[in-house]
Every structure is written in C-alpha cells, then in structure tokens.
Amino acid sequence: MMIDIRDLRVRFGQGADAVTAVDGVTLSVREGESFGLVGESGSGKSTVLRAVSGLNDEWTGRIAVAGTEQGPKRPKGFYKLCQMVFQDPYGSLHPRHTVDRILAEPIAIHGLGDADARIVRVLRDVGLGPAFRFRYPHQLSGGQRQRVAIARALVLEPRVLLLDEPTSALDVSVQAEILNLLRRLRAEHGLTLVLVTHNLAVVANLCDRLAVMNRGRLVEEMTVEELRQGAAREPYTLQLLRASRGYDRATAESFRDYA
C-alpha cells in the first residue's frame, strides 16, 4: 500500500463551534494506482488530502505513506516522496518569481544539486520548452501555469502526487491537455495519484478507483468501471451520478439531502 488511512478524524474549532470535517475515514491506495476522492463542497475530501500531505496537523487516526507511519509534523524527506498540486494556478505560484526560481527552490531545499539539468528536464516533461524558463507567472496562460505547478511538484521526483481539483479553474480544452499530461506522467514515472474533485467525468477519465464522500464520511468505494456502468450502491452516489448528466426538470425535483 502506498497510502493507508485508518479512522481519520479532523475537527475544526473549539467547544460548541467545533465542526467535524472528516469523521472516521478509512481507505488505502495501492502503489501506482490513480485514486479519485469525490464529493460536494464541505464533504471533507480536500481535508483528507491536506491531512495526508501534512498541511493540516490537527487530526487523529493513522496515516501511513509508503509503509511509514506519519505524525502531525513531517520530516523533510516526506516531501521528496509526496508532492501536491493545487486548484488555482493563479494563486499557487509566486507572482514575483520566474519559472526558473519557482523550480529551483525545491531543488535547493532538498540539496539535490544539478539544478540546471533538472529544470530543463522537468520543463520538457510537462510540455513546456526551455523558452518558458525565465518567464513570470503573469506571462503564462492558466494551462501553462498549471503545467509549471505540476513541474514544481515533479522536480523532486516524488512517488506520490496529490492533486486538489487540478483542472477545475481551467477551460475544458485546457483541462483535456492537463488530464492527458497527468496520464502520461503517471505512466512514465510510475506515479501514484490521488485526485480530489467534484467532477465524476474527470475521475472516470484519469482514475482506476474512487471513493465518494459526503459530510465527512466515506459513502462508498468503487472501481471506475462500476462508475461507468452506473453500478453505484448508495443512493447518495446515484444522485450525484444523475446530477452529472445535465439538467432535467424531473430529476432536479427528486433530489434530497443525505445526512
């Protein structure tokens, strides 16, 4: 197992205002697998990802990555193994740093050396030529920025890539390019992917297996093949599938809240 999560709980706030964002989630992702974590806003899907990535240290339960039990604070080596790509490529890149400096920073932090060759290689890997190396983020399109964000994660040659809605801020034609890129990178580098999204079609395109979350709980796990055939067991998942098929007056009427 590349990622093993047991009874993960995350609470925000104190006393009466406390909110349980993740309420006892157990799941595991095999090495080399592409796993989708799906849900609506407030379902806790991103909170699970942030706990795994070490961005959130207020959790209980058990998180193991590549066979190593993880505590709330992560050693530097963890980030060499496991990197994250965020939703908004407009907010996740330093506006006053060139692409070169953005990519050189993780190399320097981890003392990897040979920065020059690594940067050229990773830019080629994400489909950006060397011409992009000395540009600033504002000189790039949204899709190019997301490629830089992926390059920054990839430059450390991690084994796990955590993706939080990586295509939601992009136009559909650009989304297709990024999904194709992620598929190729996964094959070439043997990456394990965990993809958080609200979009079932994106999961169907990129993942092997998925888990559906609602209100902090894991509703069900299924293979993408089952998703494709509409073979969900839980009514919540079936409702999500119906809603993804586009607008239908009668279907909209049938929706209800699942606690």
Partner: protein, 281 residues
C-alpha cells in the same frame, strides 16, 4: 410596442478596450434576436460571452466602448437611452444574476431587507407591502422558512441559498428579460440543478426571456432552447440546444470532444488545435 416584437435585437455588437497597442476588441460583431426563450451563450474564457451580456445593460466599465448597428429592447434603442432611462430599465425590465452571491449581496444588510429594497426602488410600494412581497418571493425560490431567512445576513446562508436569494431579488420587480452570467457555476451539482429548476419554472410561468451565459456545454445543451457558441469575440455557430451534438463548426466539435465523459473508457482526450481562420469565422 407590440407583443410579437422580439424582446431583444442585437446587430453587429462590438465591445473594445483601449490598450497600449491600440484597441483590443472583446466582442467583434455579434448579432442575434431573442424571444421569450432561454438562449445559451457558451464559450471559453476570453470569448466575449460575459461582455455580450453586460453590454446589453450598458454595464461595460469605462474606458471600454460599446457600439452596435442595433441594440434594442422591445423596440427601444438601448444605446440611445439616457442614464436615467437605463436606471429604469435595469432591474425593472432587464435583470442580471452574476456568478457568486458572496460578492453580489450587501454583507451588512439582512437578505430580506435587500430583496424588499429591490422591490421598493421599482414599485414605490410601502414597507409592509415590500416585506410581504419579499417573503412571497423567497417562497417562490423554494426557501423553506422565508420568515427566518429574511432576517439572516448573507454570511449566514449557504452558497446555494445565497444564489436563490439573488434570484429572488432580481425577479421581484418582474423583469421581461433575465441575463444570468454563470449563475450556478459556484454551486454543487445537485444544488445547481435545483436552482436551474427554479429559473426554468419562473421563465415558463412569467413568460420571461433569458440569456444564460456559461462555459458548460452540457449544462447549456440540457437547459436552454437555443445556443450561441462564441470564440474570440464572435459567434461561430448557433443551433438548437437539442442539436448541439450535431454541431458542425470545428471549434464546437473540438470543445465537445475535449470533454471527459463518465461512460467513456479512460484514455487521451482529443486536444483542440486552434485554426487562425476561426478568428474570422
């Protein structure tokens, strides 16, 4: 004005912004007419779809410039209308719903008072009458406990409820035309469908026309009657929503092909290669 005159006539609409290198045209000659129907305007970012919607209400910020051979609402020339006349038309005759209720609602005023105010500005009704109408309107957008929600502040309601409140506020003066710019894009899919059902019903019950601006092809195809597909400031194709799958323009076909689908096996998606000829088509 007779009732069979089109609700809206747009001919050769152009919107341009001055830049250091000359005028940049965001909308380059868009023409369409609208009846009492749901018209979808679809395109990617920068296609000019939102600017088309805004220019109808003359809401393009300066130094942007709007020009058209004809821009008429029920036969009345909107480009020649005085600022005072435009203030009458905005809200009362043509209303607009934007994407995110978080930024469109006044954060320091209860939602009920905001809706009542929208009614009083256009009807000169008394406070009690406005409150009664606002509560009715909250019920019409299917808010279960209107009395309670009336007293809430915007930060106390969810995104889906915020958007219903916006719709209530926009529809309370009973406009003839609603321009909805990505009205459900910030919402979860199930909430999105519920909000669309409300808009759908209000359109058919009141005989209102609607322009629905969106980047989501499948959503527009399933919700609207007719679709305009915009690319680089032009309409490259228009079709009945039910016939979108049979679209012929290579841009429309490319966009449709690039969408991942739940029922298709995983694999590389066709990538759009943009033909410079589309800029002129």
């Amino acid at each position: 004005m007779t009732d069979d005159a089109p609700l809206l006539e747009v001919a050769n609409l152009r919107v341009a912004f001055p830049t250091r290198t000359g005028m940049a045209e965001a909308v380059r000659g868009v023409s369409f007419t609208l009846g009492r129907e749901k018209l979808g305007i679809v395109g990617e970012s920068g296609s000019g779809k939102s600017m088309t919607g805004r220019s109808i209400l003359r809401l393009v910020p300066p130094p942007g410039r709007v020009a058209a051979d004809r821009l008429a609402f029920r036969g009345e020339d909107l480009l020649a209308a005085s600022p005072r006349r435009m203030r009458d038309i905005r809200g009362r005759r043509i209303a607009m719903v934007m994407q995110d209720p978080k930024y469109s609602l006044n954060p320091v005023m209860t939602v009920g008072r905001q809706i009542a105010e929208a009614y009083r500005v256009h009807s000169h009704a008394g406070a009690a009458e406005a409150k009664r109408r606002a509560l009715e309107m909250l019920a019409a957008v299917r808010i279960r406990d209107p009395e309670r929600v009336y007293e809430r502040y915007p930060h106390e309601v969810s995104g889906g409820m915020g958007q219903r409140i916006m719709i209530a506020m926009m529809l309370i003066p009973d406009p003839d035309l609603l321009i909805a710019d990505e009205p459900t894009s910030a919402l979860d899919v199930t909430v999105q469908m519920q909000v669309l059902a409300i808009l759908d019903d209000l359109c058919s019950q009141r005989g209102m026309g609607m322009i629905f601006v969106s980047h989501d092809l499948n959503l527009v195809a399933s919700f609207c009657d007719r679709i305009l597909i915009m690319y680089a400031g032009r309409v490259v194709e228009s079709c009945r929503a039910s016939e979108l799958h049979a679209a012929t323009h290579p841009y429309t076909r490319g966009l449709l092909a690039s969408l991942p689908r739940i029922d298709e096996p995983p694999g590389d998606l066709p990538v759009l290669s943009r033909d410079p000829a589309w800029l002129e088509g």
